[in-house]
Symmetry: C2
Subunit: 354 residues, 2 copies
């Protein structure tokens, strides 16, 4: 594997000095890009894109041709694991992900098969290898997975939800079955991320999209505990280089200290918390990733610049900051605004790394 030409992102995650604050965007390979929409419409549907390594690779690389991002992220979906377990993932237009089968009792949980990643999710590891090779050391590649709790909510609800009534009722009334489900998912996520690491992912991120809908006690018991378990069992290095882990719980701002102590190298922040406050709270234990409100990309370039300036100033001097949005970029954003965003981060951050 080639040496990294740009290692800012890895260095910031490890809290080593950098020349500028590294930046990437969640969902940077996505619908806001016309070239993405074109390839997706040719592919027919979203899942075909994910399941065809050449297409996933092409889509992963698209934003890097336009913007000076400091990292690439595997193009895939957080729900590949339940799909591989036989739940039948599909996407209905305008309604988001759905499953043909749902988990509603202990027997459903017990019936879930153990995954063989290279057989059941080989299309993902093949994509990782291909992207890593195509990147040719330009920037590091991020692998990822949904968190066990987040995967469980979709598997139980059969899709997205407003109030997660079914998933929560399952958790409150049948905690043993919920824990068994989360155990199975944590084992699968661990194998999945380790397989991505072996295939070439240089950083991994766990997306805990729905941890923030829980009470503090339930978050610790049903979401964080399983991410901690994954953190303990991930491969710590590959080819002699450390593999940093990022944990991102949306709406997890109340629990930063606990997340920072989970065994991750970096805590992902949504936009609701001030990043300076977050840094004060967790000290210098781990790096922080975030946290511009994605909606600011709809505002004027001048307003985007002001916001980037404010977040850099709030974080302050020194390393340990990976600039990102506080959530994925949304489809309607003007691609030129993304240039403004990325270039402002690089230009305005230099003074914080002298």
């Amino acid at each position: 594997m080639s040496q990294l030409k740009n290692d800012r992102f890895i260095r910031a995650l490890l809290k080593q000095p950098v020349d500028r604050t590294p930046v990437w965007m969640m969902r940077q390979a996505g619908r806001y890009l016309p070239e993405y929409r074109e390839i997706r419409s040719r592919a027919g549907d979203f899942l075909t894109l994910c399941q065809t390594p050449e297409l996933a690779c092409e889509v992963t690389l698209q934003p890097l041709r336009r913007y000076a991002f400091d990292a690439a992220i595997l193009f895939s979906d957080i729900l590949t694991i339940p799909d591989a377990m036989g739940q039948g993932l599909y996407f209905s237009e305008g309604e988001g992900p759905k499953f043909r089968k749902v988990i509603r009792n202990a027997a459903d949980v017990e019936a879930l098969p153990e995954l063989n990643i290279s057989k059941d999710l080989g299309y993902v590891t093949d994509a990782v290898s291909l992207i890593r090779s195509e990147l040719n050391g330009s920037v590091p590649l991020i692998g990822f997975s949904g968190s066990p709790w987040t995967l469980a909510t979709y598997m139980i609800e059969g899709g997205g939800s407003r109030d997660f009534r079914i998933a929560k009722q399952f958790m409150y009334d049948n905690p043993e079955a919920m824990h068994l489900l989360l155990e199975k998912l944590a084992a699968a996520v661990t194998d999945y991320l380790n397989a991505q690491i072996e295939a070439g992912a240089q950083v991994v991120q766990i997306f805990d999209t729905w941890g923030g809908i829980l009470s503090t006690g339930a978050y610790e018991e049903f979401s964080l505990a399983y991410m901690e378990k994954i953190a303990r069992n991930l491969h710590k290095e590959k080819d002699g280089l450390p593999i940093p882990l990022i944990i991102f719980t949306k709406n997890g701002g109340l629990w930063l200290e606990r997340i920072a102590a989970s065994g991750c190298h970096c805590v992902g922040l949504d936009w609701t918390i001030n990043i300076g406050v977050a840094r004060d709270r967790i000290g210098d234990k781990v790096a922080l990733q975030g946290n511009m409100d994605p909606s600011i990309l709809y505002a004027s370039p001048q307003r985007i610049r002001t916001e980037v300036e404010g977040i850099l100033k709030d974080y302050g001097t020194g390393t340990g900051h990976v600039f990102n949005l506080g959530h994925g970029i949304t489809p309607g954003v003007n691609p030129d605004h993304v240039s403004t965003f990325v270039d402002c981060v690089h230009e305005l951050s230099e003074q914080y790394h002298l």
Copy 2:
């Protein structure tokens, strides 16, 4: 006006000793009750219920006939103010509130009329007077309003939203117009709540349903500042009795200290924060209201009891706690589970007030 037979709720809000922890539920007059569904189907639609004082009164009193709640809350909608301003509120089945007119620029904001509450929203103050009289001192009556920011989001978006893209773009690109809109709404909310107080509301609550979608800086500038302004201008007492103010920002757990310093008597909590942690953070400055996850009402009576027990224990001894859900009760809840909830709060809280 008759003396209050049960003043636990008011006493807890003022941090005076109580014999048991008072309890009520947001949306306690609502669709989970068959008698509510019956009267609503006879009325034809939701707005007719709100706009007919006799029906609003009847619906307000329904849950008090079933349950030992320590407060009544006016049956109304948070969007009466923009409706009275001519925005044309309506409800489309399964989609929530909508407006026929939307606010999209400074001229739209400037064109908004100043309200004359007794003329434009007399149906609300009439309902308050009637309910107060019918309650006959059994429990106190809560009046309420949406927060200026929350009202603004609906007025700009034209209804609910997933990402509030239009409202946020308006805020980021046109902060002067947004501030003018919020000024107008804060003035209307102040007049509206004062009119409710004069008509008989003994406590008022501001529902800041969407403050929690903002960054910390934007929350302080565009939501909290206007609630503070309202707090300063509310009538502080009526008939020699203090009128406590509750401020509830959903997903506002990061900002409790700031909310507690806003001039309110009580901070409403959603279920994501541990109430003991919240009490430690704000000290004894104000009371706390909350914060059971409404989804627990779908679980078994035994699980509901365990959760009530846990929240009471987390709050600990002494006054200043008003038990509530962390958000409104949802339509599918079994009414018997509400009895369990209310009775458990009274039964299990006695030991914390000896």
